[in-house]
């Protein structure tokens, strides 16, 4: 069995509900999590809208998949990068987003933050460093 661990970056640039991209990305991330790769998620442009808290889709008759982002920690997805400039252009701050955590088994299941706010330059470097980029 190959021991090669690749760095996978899932690039999310679409708002939820208006198109199917956000949900499709989440499904692929959850499926891909079974393959023991080094997974990072990037939220850029309208993609940052996927993480807003308090989403309630009862009025539009669609499945609310925002609670599923909180399961990412269970799937060993611990690196979620959110671009600062994208938030600011949309009048949002980190406080407007869900608080996502993962549990560190080696540290008595301590909850650690998954989301890291990064600048556009830092995001560019993260993209540059990835072996594979999946775009949604």
């Amino acid at each position: 069995m190959s021991e090669t661990i690749k760095q996978f970056l899932y690039l999310n640039r679409k708002a939820p509900y208006g198109t199917i991209y956000a949900w499709e990305s989440l499904e692929v991330v959850l499926i891909g999590a079974a393959f023991d790769q080094d997974v990072s998620l990037a939220f850029v442009d309208d993609g940052v809208y996927q993480l807003t808290k308090g989403q309630d889709t009862a009025g539009i008759g669609m499945k609310n998949f925002s609670p599923t982002y909180a399961a990412l920690g269970d799937y060993e997805v611990k690196k979620i990068f959110v671009e600062k400039e994208s938030l600011e252009e949309r009048g949002l701050s980190l406080d407007d987003l869900q608080h996502l955590v993962w549990e560190d088994e080696d540290d008595d299941y301590a909850e650690k933050d998954s989301i890291k706010l990064v600048s556009r330059d830092e995001m560019a470097a993260i993209m540059d460093g990835a072996d594979v980029v999946f775009s949604f």
Binding site: E27, L30, I31, A33, A34, K63, N64, F65, P67, T68, A70, A71, D74, Y75, Y109
Partner: protein, 110 residues
């Protein structure tokens, strides 16, 4: 084909999963397990109830790996392994237990 539970009829898909998760009641698991010649014990119900709680919170059925880890944490390390879970649900914990719990087939499960 629909499933008959306590005089009610619930729609299922071609693989036997409930079409509507809100139709679920404990009788669904009883009827499905009887068809599989499986008697549900408290240990089975622990898993079924846990799956329902997980779905309620995250809106997905957990992958087997995630379920295994969570069961170990919640019900004791000796239970957090696939041998224990397959012992309870021979057709696979995710597939069979999720079906009994009225959940859709787990994402990524073929």
């Amino acid at each position: 084909m629909p499933i008959e539970v306590n005089g009610k009829s619930f729609e299922t898909d071609e693989e036997g999963y409930l079409a509507n998760i809100n139709d679920w009641e404990p009788g669904v698991a009883e009827v499905m397990s009887k068809e599989d010649d499986l008697e549900l014990t408290d240990e089975h119900w622990d898993i079924i109830n846990y799956l329902r709680e997980y779905y309620e919170e995250y809106q997905i059925a957990p992958a087997v790996r995630v379920l295994t880890k969570a069961v170990g944490k919640k019900f004791g390390k000796d239970k957090g392994n696939s041998k224990y879970l397959y012992g309870l649900f021979p057709y696979g914990p995710a597939k069979q237990a999720c079906r009994y719990a009225g959940l859709p087939k787990p994402t990524g499960c073929v």
